[in-house]
Symmetry: C2
DNA sequence: ATTTTACACTTGTTATAACAAGCTATTATT
DNA sequence: AATAATAGCTTGTTATAACAAGTGTAAAAT
């Protein structure tokens, strides 16, 4: 079995990146320069770079170049509602900010209807972007019971769900959550500034209020290269 | 902004797959046939298929063709040690099996040494593959304290870590775990039968025994298309 | 001095071409 | 009949070529 040229080239570049020859955010040599350096055609250089993009090490921008992606990560603790971590994060010098994309009444999807077990089919949909130190890291999509959404609406626009729920003195009984992994589709790749197919961690949750009544269904799609989740299990 | 041909073609194929035109495991038309169908060059067809591969929808095999990948998923509950789920899984008709790759004494890596806080630098390394219904789904790598490894060794070879620890009546005090996401490298892509860069979920854990003494450090790298984790949070 | 234009450089898209390599079934040989 | 060679399919690799499109800079026009 012969190793293809594009593999050995991307391996060389990967080693150079890991060795620190190219710093985080730095521009790689252009395709033309790499063609000269490795004495191969453009198609081979492009394939080599595509490998690195797929591995999440670099990111290309038309008209500008190929850049080494920063690998800073934020850890979210799941032993408590995740928002409690906000304090810890600022201590570490990581600032979390939010940007509201949409907040409006919609007809709830079938999956949400089942989860919320609500007779009402109109719920509030909220989409917001999550930034760490100015760089986009996750998108959160949540569906909120209409009676809650009406009162919480103005505040939900700017803040994170759990914080607001606590500030509004809404008791959280428990949270059911699932963690899985998916890949960026055409919508999320746009918002999260990642290439199509980039791995995303899906944190899907149902928040239960008093009397175990589900009050919120949501999912947070995080860039796998910027967010991870930690938890503590007591058997 | 004009949509590239390869994007619209991969979108068409994606819709056909989701509509069930191509069943799980079925072969897509060959590149030559797709060239005729869409009246484009081979390079465009290949780019379209590359998009689908990156999205994890199809998988190509040299000499054979391009096939729709099955999307069956297994959920691991994290509110209890994950192995308790083995019963639930068999009820769902999912059979978990294991294959031992290595079990030997090694010098522990720096990270493990710190985590286990052990004076001894020789630990047992165990690598095993995890199959669901015969299909490979995850690889588990764990480092075990020498005194435990010596006695557990013969059984650990075939069984899953937690089960054995319980059968051997070793009390598990607690488990610290982190969930993040990475991508298949050259070694894991081989074992897990996924393309380079395919997203993997990393479940990294430290098992604490009596008196909160760490007895095991491990990580499970799961194929994101076959495993996900669920948990329950009590605030 | 400010704005506009043009140019050079970057990556993105698409075509044609040829050969390599893996798989399968048929044919030819033993 | 069993084995080996072959032909024909598949995807993988690599080259050359041309144009499109996004970015930034330097020159030209206002």
């Amino acid at each position: 079995m012969v190793t293809p040229l594009h593999v050995s080239i991307s391996e060389k570049l990967r080693h150079q990146i890991e060795a620190g020859d190219y710093v985080s955010g730095e521009k790689l040599p252009s395709e033309h320069e790499l063609m000269k350096t490795f004495q191969v055609s453009r198609i081979t250089v492009r394939q080599a770079i595509a490998n690195l993009v797929n591995q999440g090490l670099v990111s290309s921008q038309q008209g500008k170049g190929v850049f080494v992606v920063p690998q800073q990560k934020v850890t979210y603790s799941l032993s408590s509602p995740m928002v409690l971590l906000a304090d810890d994060l600022s201590k570490k010098g990581i600032e979390l900010t939010f940007k509201n994309l949409t907040f409006r009444k919609v007809r709830s999807p079938q999956e949400v209807q089942t989860a919320l077990a609500s007779a009402e089919k109109q719920v509030y949909l909220q989409k917001k972007l999550l930034y760490m130190n100015g760089a986009v890291g996750a998108i959160d999509i949540s569906y909120i019971l209409p009676e809650l959404g009406k009162s919480l609406g103005p505040q939900l626009k700017q803040e994170m769900t759990f914080v607001v729920l606590e500030e509004c003195a809404i008791a959280i009984e428990s949270i059911d959550a699932t963690i899985e992994c998916t890949r960026a589709d055409y919508e999320t790749s746009d918002y999260l500034e990642v290439p199509l197919g980039h791995p995303l961690i899906v944190y899907r949750y149902i928040v239960y209020g008093p009397a175990q009544k589900p009050i919120l269904w949501g999912e947070t799609l995080s860039r796998a290269d910027r967010f991870c989740y930690s938890l503590n299990i007591q058997p």
